[in-house]
């Protein structure tokens, strides 16, 4: 599974990234790189900052500090045309598919081709069917998103994300809300995609099994800090308490100061 990326060039480089919402500081000095052709899994518990990091990497959120270089281009300071060029080289599969509810599955998948290419309708239809076939969704093109199951929505979203044959694919929580079998199917699909299309893939997940199956490298986030990055083997043998707790699924200690809590409750009554 693990490839040697020592020789590979860095495709995504996150440098000293700080980000948050209002006064709430979510990400603290994140430094992370993704090599060309590798599958990097960003892993962490709920509230660890995975989704914020992904939103920053997609250019959907401006960081308060730091740089995100994608193929050498600074995402945070790119002008409109540079940003468009960058976005056309990236595919994003969202957690719930994020298909446009007013369009059929097929129309959704064809949308990027219709908007960004001059291809004729026949070619677009062939490309759409090929991608649907790759996702095991052949024959579903005329259904509306509301008629699909959770797993199918994710696969249809993935088909749309790869329709332009992007260089980089981002996948947000591929296994969330799916049964174990569908989850394994999606993992296999991600590996199949990398093999078939030679993509660089960044996956955000909190599912350990999924991360260990697909990752070349794993980056572990905890409370907005990047704890460590390493291969699956390195993560499994990591001695950092936060990583060990995550792998062993040990819950965090919840500290309740009873006196403080009671005094807060009675404050209003006095």
């Amino acid at each position: 599974m693990n490839r040697n990326f020592a020789e590979s060039s860095v495709l995504i480089d996150v440098k000293n990234l700080n980000s948050g919402y209002g006064n709430r500081h979510v990400l603290h000095d994140i430094n992370l790189s993704v090599n060309d052709g590798e599958i990097l899994v960003i892993m962490g518990g709920s509230g660890s900052g995975k989704s914020t990091l992904l939103r920053n990497m997609l250019g959907l959120k401006k960081p308060s500090e730091g740089q995100i270089l994608i193929d050498g281009m600074d995402l945070c300071h790119a002008n409109k045309s540079e940003l468009l060029k960058l976005r056309r080289s990236m595919g994003v599969a969202f957690q719930g598919g994020a298909l446009l509810s007013s369009l059929s599955v097929g129309e959704n998948i064809k949308l990027p081709l219709r908007q960004h290419t001059d291809l004729d309708e026949n070619t677009i239809n062939i490309m759409m069917r090929l991608k649907l076939e790759l996702m095991n969704l052949a024959g579903y093109e005329d259904l509306m998103p509301s008629e699909l199951s959770g797993g199918m929505l994710k696969r249809a979203g993935l088909a749309r994300a790869v329709i332009m044959d992007p260089k980089i694919l981002f996948f947000d929580e591929p296994s969330a809300g799916l049964d174990p079998v569908t989850s394994v199917e999606l993992d296999q699909l991600i590996l199949k995609l990398r093999k078939a299309m030679n993509m660089t893939i960044v996956v955000v997940t909190h599912e350990l099994e999924s991360a260990f199956t697909i990752a070349d490298r794993i980056a572990v986030l905890f409370d907005g800090e990047l704890v460590t990055t390493g291969t699956v083997g390195e993560i499994k043998t990591c001695t950092d308490e936060r990583v060990v707790n995550l792998i062993n699924r040990s819950p965090r200690d919840i500290q309740i100061d009873a006196e403080k809590y009671l005094s807060r409750l009675t404050k209003g009554a006095n």
Binding site: L58, G59, L60, L83, L84, R87, R88, M90, V92, F94, Q95, G96, A98, L99, L100, S101, S102, L111, P112, Q115, H116, G157, R160
Partner: protein, 261 residues
């Protein structure tokens, strides 16, 4: 005391922020109208939704409004012995005021609420994020066709409302109150001028922009609603959009009337 002033100040700042945000939203949507490729398919779909599918409620509400107006005017005009002027009274009231306002109110209820809810759900389901990531501007692809469809459809619906309202007045005046049909139509032709029609067209155009702008804008910024999320946030912004559209429309009606009369 100071706490109250502080609250008032914070609420005022928040309102100004919202107006600013919605103004930028409208500016970007208007820019979307001139960006390529324009969504003609989406435009036709929205014209069908805002225009064609609103026709039944516009026909019904226009008919009843015209009929009620005729009843009211008959009663008033009879006191002054001027029932012959009913055609002009009904048509002037409809064309100058009630047609544009009633059409706008009906469309706020039907189109504004559903547009706001649809856009808010699209936001909650990350559909705008998906469009942005596909390098497709949500302003160009989603908002601009809706704005143009409203600008095309609402003045036409207002014209339909005016016509059917005049017909409703005719039904009550001629068939129920026994007035002369020819006199009813002749007073309309003699009274209505180009400036009356212009007022109706200008008002319906302004109302179209207000309804669709506020409905789309409120839905688009649903994620900024404080203290709520998911279905509750959609419900809250939809209510706010309906109220804000109606009040802004009535305020604009006063301003437009004061310039056009």
């Amino acid at each position: 005391m100071f706490a109250q002033i502080e609250k008032l100040g914070a609420a005022t700042i928040q309102k100004f922020e919202e107006v600013g945000r919605l103004s930028v939203f409208l500016y970007r949507t208007v820019l979307g109208l001139v960006s390529r490729p324009f969504g003609f398919k989406e435009l036709l779909k929205q014209i069908a939704f805002i225009g064609a599918r609103s026709m039944p409620i516009i026909l019904l509400s226009g008919l009843f409004t015209g009929m009620v107006l005729a009843l009211q005017f008959y009663d008033v005009l009879a006191r002054f012995g001027s029932v012959d002027l009913m055609g002009s009274a009904v048509s002037l009231s409809l064309i100058q005021e009630l047609g544009p306002v009633m059409t706008a109110l009906m469309l706020i209820a039907r189109v504004g609420s559903s547009t706001c809810a649809e856009i808010a759900i699209m936001r909650n389901e990350q559909q705008f994020d998906a469009l942005t990531c596909m390098a497709i501007s949500p302003y160009r692809y989603v908002m601009a066709p809706r704005l143009l469809a409203a600008i095309i459809s609402i003045p036409l619906l207002t014209a339909v409302f005016n016509l059917i309202g005049i017909f409703g007045g005719y039904v009550v005046g001629v068939f129920i109150k026994g007035l002369s049909g020819t006199a009813y139509m002749q007073t309309i032709i003699d009274t209505i001028t180009w400036s009356d029609l212009r007022m109706s067209i200008v008002k319906s155009f302004i109302f179209a922009v207000i309804i669709i702008w506020i409905s789309m804008g409120k839905g688009f910024f649903v994620h900024l609603e404080k203290g709520v999320s998911g279905a509750e946030s959609v419900g809250r912004v939809t209510t706010k959009a309906v109220v804000a559209s109606a009040i802004t429309m009535l305020f604009a009606d006063y301003i437009a009337s004061s310039f056009l009369i």
